[in-house]
Amino acid sequence: MPCCAFAVFIISQIVLSYGAIKRFLLRSGDSLDDLPSNPATEWRLNAATPALAAGSNRRFGLRTLVLAASIETLLAVGALYGYSLHAHHHHHDLAGVAGAPASVCVR
């Protein structure tokens, strides 16, 4: 079916990896019986059953948020480190230039 197969492949790799880690950490089972029911399928036009899909979406959203936050944190740390390194080098170079004879050169 459906379109966009490679992206699904990529997503599936992420999801399956996540599942493998979860199984490893939480020792959950590998049986098809363990698969959760999808609340969206419970909805009926003429029944009072509420649509419960939002719960699963929230779980998915939370996982995504945690992943995104981890990456953002890593990037922020890297950027801060890069900036501090750069600022340090700049300061060091200026100090060297100020106190050194005219023959200072990088190479």
């Binding site: 079916m1 459906p2 379109c3 966009c4 197969a5 490679f6 992206a7 699904v8 492949f9 990529i10 997503i11 599936s12 999801v15 399956l16 599942g19 590998d30 098809l32 698969l35 959760p36 029911s37 999808n38 969206a40 399928t41 419970e42 909805w43 009926r44 036009l45 003429n46 029944a47 649509a51 899909a53 939002a54 699963s56 979406n57 998915f60 990456i71 890593l74 990037l75 890297g78 480190y81 890069g82 390194l85 750069h86 080098h89 700049h90 170079d93 990088v106 190479r107």
Partner: protein, 639 residues
């Protein structure tokens, strides 16, 4: 006419190991651009330019390579950049963000240049060159191994193709007779899953999976598949019933115009086409909308004779109160055709720059139904080139259609698309090829047919699977797709094995008169519903033929209350109306309305007893019928 294996048992698509000319040209362009980047990137090192320039230059060789020249802890940013680059490539795949990998690659090179403040780490150029060389060698070896494997598979397929085709044709059930089809109580319960969702007020989307609007779980695909299921049901079982069944299809079509469904294109057009001013969803690319939606529109119009969506501006994609992209069935089909004609590959992208052959199969199928509806010649004008390019640019060495290719770079990604998924579509416009694809696919399926505890055959896929409709584990979608395709080719043994697997593994639930699979996504449930009612050639006949002529001009059941009255069979020979109804909730009297009778003429309703009545001056009448279980009703002109 019977198909003989010898008619179509020609060698599989590819006999020689080449890539298509357009793909080859893309590869050459990639190589030239990358070679230029490497030369430019190496110059600062060779010419002993500043450390900043050297680091930035190395960053052109490989994403984040410049951080190796920065040295120290800066090296840690190299793997971070690679991860970020992978995510950017994923964003490119997933949502057509073509600028993301470019920004990450060039941005990392620039940042490395900014960070470098002392002589570059002397090993950096060697390390970067070694990594690029290692990646090239690894990639070459993988490609060679894959090619060898695919060629071996091609040889094996060619050896067995004749027998495989003969077997596929031998086991195929005959095409069922038109006008005699009737939904079983289980079929009706499954159809209620789709009807419940489609009959809620337009704009409400209860009972749908809401995950993202870019990829396969997007609402648009759920809407499309619900529409296909109801369209096929109407064409094959109840063409003389409009009422809530037609209303349900119109609701789905009108829901599709909701900005929440198609606004993904505003983003993709911006970051994929760099087009911020005219993000028309049915102009350039986006066959995942036009091709899929075109089928849904065409099914409804072909089934009902209603041409409202052919009127100019009848399909308004409203961006805001100031901007509307006005479309209709003609402009949707014209968009598909124009893109086919304009694309060097002939097949064209979904997300900007990504060509998915499966979506292009939907696109070609949408043109088949458009030609049938309006007597156009869109398919003959492009099909030969389309098939030639499918063979040369989008088929691997084993003869299987590939999952996707980047139109920008020509890169193919190693996703196993599976021949079964394409076969039903090709049955609509290239039936010989379709038969060959199915014969190939069913050879592979034999390996997953097992026996259950009762001794019955069932499919058995390993692991926990993956549901395209909500990105969770589960095989509902896979089993439904295989069941659907097997039924299209009359292979009921495999279809029944797939249905047994669905019932046993995917949480079949029969509650409140509705049959569903609780462990599947909404998309998978929609596909399972269609698969359940599918019989041989149903998809092809729904697309390429439509309902029988008598039902298009004869009396119609136009009103019945849902879900109180369920319609299992509704056909007309042009004069009569043959119905089978079931009570949806409880047995008792129900009102139905019949139209398109001859004005003022007298009719007899046979329902165990006979009841005479006269049509009014508009050719309509309302009748009270007693529904108890399966209730056949035959309305015929009084003699």
């Amino acid at each position: 006419m019977a198909v003989l294996p010898s008619d179509i048992a020609q060698p599989l698509i590819r006999g020689k190991a080449t890539v298509g000319p357009v793909t080859a040209a893309r590869h050459r362009r990639n190589a030239m651009i990358y070679a230029a980047m490497c030369v430019v990137g190496l110059l600062p090192t060779i010419l002993h330019m500043s450390p900043e320039m050297q680091a930035a230059g190395l960053g052109l060789w490989i994403p984040g390579g410049g951080f190796l020249a920065v040295g120290g802890f800066g090296i840690l940013l190299f793997p971070v950049t690679l991860v970020l680059f992978a995510l950017a490539v994923f964003a490119w795949f997933g949502a057509g963000v073509v600028i993301a990998p470019i920004i990450v690659w060039l941005g990392a090179a620039w940042l490395a240049g900014e960070m470098a403040g002392e002589p570059a780490w002397f090993l950096a150029p060697y390390l970067v060159a070694a990594m690029v060389a290692a990646a090239a060698v690894y990639s070459y070896q993988r490609q060679r191994a894959r090619k060898t494997k695919e060629l071996a598979k091609l040889e094996a397929r060619n050896r067995t193709m004749g027998a495989a085709l003969a077997e596929a044709i031998e086991v195929a059930a005959p095409v069922p007779a038109v006008g005699q089809r009737e939904l079983t109580p289980d079929d009706l319960a499954a159809s209620r899953y789709a009807l419940d969702r489609a009959l809620q007020p337009v704009g409400q989307m209860s009972g749908y999976d809401k995950v993202d609007q870019f990829q396969t779980a997007a609402l648009r695909y759920q809407i499309n598949h619900l529409g296909y299921g109801l369209g096929m049901l109407q064409c094959m079982y109840t063409p003389s019933f409009h009422g809530y069944l037609s209303q349900a299809q119109r609701n789905l079509i009108e829901l599709y115009l909701d900005r929440r469904i198609w606004s993904y294109w505003l983003w993709e057009s911006a970051w994929g086409h760099l087009n911020l001013t005219d993000p028309d969803p049915a102009a350039k690319d986006n066959i995942m909308l036009t091709g899929w939606f075109g089928i849904q529109l065409g099914m409804y119009m072909l089934n009902t004779g209603d041409r409202r969506y052919a009127e100019p501006g009848s399909l308004p994609f409203r961006r805001n109160k100031h901007r509307v992209f006005n479309h209709d069935a003609h402009t949707i089909a014209q968009s598909v055709l124009k893109n086919f004609l304009d694309s060097e590959f002939c097949l064209y992208p979904c997300e900007p720059n990504w060509v998915y052959p499966i979506c292009n199969h939907y696109g070609m199928t949408s043109l088949v139904i458009y030609d049938r509806l309006f007597g156009a010649k869109f398919v003959p004008s492009v099909l030969d080139r389309w098939l030639k390019n499918l063979d040369s640019e989008f088929t691997d060495y084993s003869g299987s259609v590939i999952g996707l290719r980047s139109s920008l770079t020509g890169i193919r990604f190693p996703f196993p698309a599976g021949d079964a998924g394409f076969a039903a579509f090709e049955n609509c416009f290239a039936p010989d090829r379709a038969q060959r694809l199915w014969a190939t696919a069913r050879q592979d399926l034999k390996y997953i047919i097992k026996t259950d505890a009762t001794g019955a055959k069932r499919l058995s896929l390993p692991g926990k699977g993956f549901d395209f409709g909500n990105y969770k584990s589960g095989y509902a979608g896979a089993y439904a797709m295989l069941m659907d395709t097997a039924r299209e080719f009359g292979d009921y043994e495999i279809a029944d094995a797939a249905q047994r697997a669905l019932d046993q593994d995917c949480g079949r639930a029969d509650d409140g008169g509705v049959l569903r699979y609780s462990k599947g996504s909404n998309l998978s449930n929609a596909m399972a519903m269609r698969a359940r009612i599918h019989r041989r050639d149903d998809f092809r006949r729904t697309i390429a033929e439509g309902p029988p002529e008598g039902s298009l001009r004869g009396p119609l059941l136009t009103d019945a209350k849902y879900p109180d009255v369920l319609v299992a069979h509704a056909f007309s020979n042009g004069d009569d109306l043959d119905l089978v109804l079931y009570p949806g909730l409880q047995a008792g009297q129900q009102e139905i309305r019949v139209e398109r009778l001859r004005p003022g003429a007298r009719y007899v309703m046979r329902n165990g007893s006979e009841h005479a009545f006269a049509a009014d001056n508009n050719g309509a009448t309302s009748l009270s019928v007693a529904l108890r279980g399966r209730t056949p009703i035959h309305i015929v002109p009084a003699i």
